[in-house]
């Protein structure tokens, strides 16, 4: 019979109090797990957005706003840049040695809450997401209920549209159906866009957007301007404006540090700025979410410590009832150190049971919420998706249990055997 079993028997003897103590610890640990997993989900969700291209070129202004708008489709564009910038990046001699791909994007209004973006077909053929993953189009139902393979919009079909996975499921738009009113306001588009494809889920902001051919997008905006009496003479400058250009640098050139050189060259120009999205996202994340995570984690850890104190109170309160039992153990030959160890082991067992329960509860709850999380963020969370910080949970709990078990253990250590033995149990 090991001392662990002796400690376990003591826990069993006080089943109700022990269960409540374990439950309290379990909830604390579950909270820590939830904070860690949610942080990881937000982290992935944040960082995935900026993967797939090396630079964003947009109007001069706040670099954060440019990234928020171009990567996450949030907020308003900083401004527009001339279409000629895209041309120069794509075919100009100045950047031809460094730029592999350049894709223009025009931020529009929203359709049923989803941002409408005018772009070119290369957006889904040349760019990748999450490293090297290629965009794919899924089979989905058309308006007649038949399964149809979706496709990218064509360069020469200005009024075709492609939907992100979440946008498609929320709007219930089907292939072959048309979209109107994406120009915003009360004006009805003269020419609707026809949905030709639905993208497979990517876990990036792309899932939450509606993409249309940039040519049609600009024609529509042009018409919108006409409808409002603006640019009545077909102001071609309006057509020549885009919000940003997503730029991929050749991998070997990027490795040689050319990304920053290209960025500096662009930043020296009068109208445009170039930002490295990964850096801006990392700064944004650390500056906003990172601090919040530490606050949440701190609060969760405080909950665990409070549960640890609960263990101490539970064991310490039981000490007056157990002095006789401890005295009997001592009379049977257990040393002071042995009874002290039994109490510490009891504390550790309670904390470990709470820890395991918390891990199961935390991951179980996250797993149950995973469809919701995937829907909101595109990040799929598995039942066994552990965070590295969870590795320190169990050793941390053992340290905590040893600390909180120390006081009752010392009480056990100091038990006066002769005096406690004559006391009726």
């Amino acid at each position: 019979m090991s001392l662990w079993k002796v400690a376990w028997r003591s826990i069993q003897q006080r089943a109700l109090v022990s269960t409540l103590t374990v439950l309290s610890m379990g909830l604390g640990v579950a909270l820590v797990v939830a904070v860690l997993v949610v942080y990881s989900v937000v982290y992935q969700s944040f960082h995935r957005g900026g993967e797939g291209y090396d630079l964003i070129v947009g109007a001069k202004g706040g670099r954060e706003q440019l990234v928020l708008n171009t990567v996450f489709y949030l907020s308003q564009p900083v401004g527009n840049i001339p279409y000629s910038f895209y041309d120069e990046l794509k075919v100009g001699r100045r950047f031809s040695a460094d730029v592999e791909t350049a894709v223009p994007v025009c931020m529009g209004h929203t359709y049923q809450g989803f941002r409408v973006i005018g772009t070119v077909p290369e957006m889904f053929t040349e760019l990748k997401y999450q490293g090297e993953k290629k965009y794919e189009f899924v089979q989905s139902e058309d308006a007649d209920g038949k399964k149809v393979q979706g496709r990218n919009f064509k360069e020469d079909a200005p009024f075709e549209a492609v939907l992100g996975a979440v946008a498609a499921s929320r709007t219930q738009l089907k292939i072959g159906e048309t979209i109107r009113g994406i120009a915003g306001g009360s004006h009805t588009d003269k020419q609707p866009f026809t949905v030709v494809g639905v993208l497979a889920p990517t876990g990036t902001p792309v899932d939450h957007a509606v993409f249309v051919n940039m040519r049609g997008f600009q024609e529509m905006h042009h018409a919108e301007g006409e409808g409002h009496g603006e640019h009545a003479d077909h102001d071609h400058e309006h057509n020549d404006q885009i919000t940003a250009v997503l730029v991929c640098i050749y991998p070997d050139r990027a490795a040689a540090g050319r990304t920053d050189v290209v960025a500096r060259t662009i930043n020296d120009s009068r109208f445009a700025q170039a930002v490295v999205p990964a850096r801006v996202i990392a700064d944004l994340f650390e500056g906003v979410v990172g601090k919040l995570q530490w606050i949440l984690l701190g609060m969760a850890v405080l909950t665990v410590i409070e549960a640890g104190i609960g263990i101490m109170v539970s064991i310490y309160n039981s000490m007056s009832d157990r002095r006789h039992e401890i005295a009997v153990m001592r009379a049977l030959g257990a040393s002071r150190f042995t009874v002290m160890m039994v109490i510490l082991m009891e504390s550790i067992l309670l904390a470990l049971m709470g820890g395991i329960m918390g891990l199961l509860l935390g991951h179980g709850a996250i797993w149950l919420c995973s469809p919701l999380i995937a829907d909101w963020t595109g990040v799929v969370v598995g039942l066994l998706q552990f965070q590295w910080m969870e590795l320190i949970l169990i050793p941390g709990l053992i340290v905590l249990a040893s600390a909180v078990g120390y006081l009752p253990a010392v009480a056990a250590y100091r038990t006066d055997v002769a005096k406690s033995l004559v006391t009726t149990p």
């Binding site: 019979m1 028997r9 153990m329 001592r330 009379a331 049977l332 030959g333 040393s335 149990p425």
Partner: protein, 226 residues
Amino acid sequence: MLLLKDIKKAFRQPDGSALPVLDIPEFRVEVGEQMVMVGRSGCGKTTLLHIIAGIGRPDSGKVRIDDWDITLMPEAERDRFRAERIGYVFQTFNLLAGFTALENVLVAMRFARGRPDKARARSLLNRVGLGHRMTHRPSQLSVGEQQRVAVARALANKPQLLLADEPTANIDAAHQQQILDLIRETCREENVALIMVTHSNDVARQFPRMDHLEDINRVAVGGAIG
């Protein structure tokens, strides 16, 4: 085998004064000897057993068991010595409530040697007639059965000396003799010296040696703690 020499013990009273309990010039028990200690309540019988077992320390004097003076041992060594060489049967049994009968015996072995001998524990429980109740907890056993477990536990580590503090006091008359016979027989079989404290004349008469604590204790009767 057991020799007490010039044992003195007093308890501190709330007003700070000392209350003498024991003053025993000499007390001996031989190997395998069975003796009974009688005395009125509060005359210091339990205190004497605690001192012999090393649970309590005398204010002065020596407690020698074979060649070891336990009063000179550090506490941890005394604990180990007690676990290995002295068995103790309490009046109130003092079984550990959360443990089964078998575990109560095993836990005593664990504290003595670190590695319990399951076969001996089972054999002892069989010998006290509890082979069929090994997995029962104290609350599921009768008073007599609990005391049998306590006897098996006291003998678990093959002690040289068994101290029994009124082991039949809480047992009904029908089972008193059974318990008494059990303790004496097992001590005889294992050649264990037995010191039994009792109030019962019926019990005391069955022993070849009966000491009155008042006869060996110089402290005047009255006011001592039992």
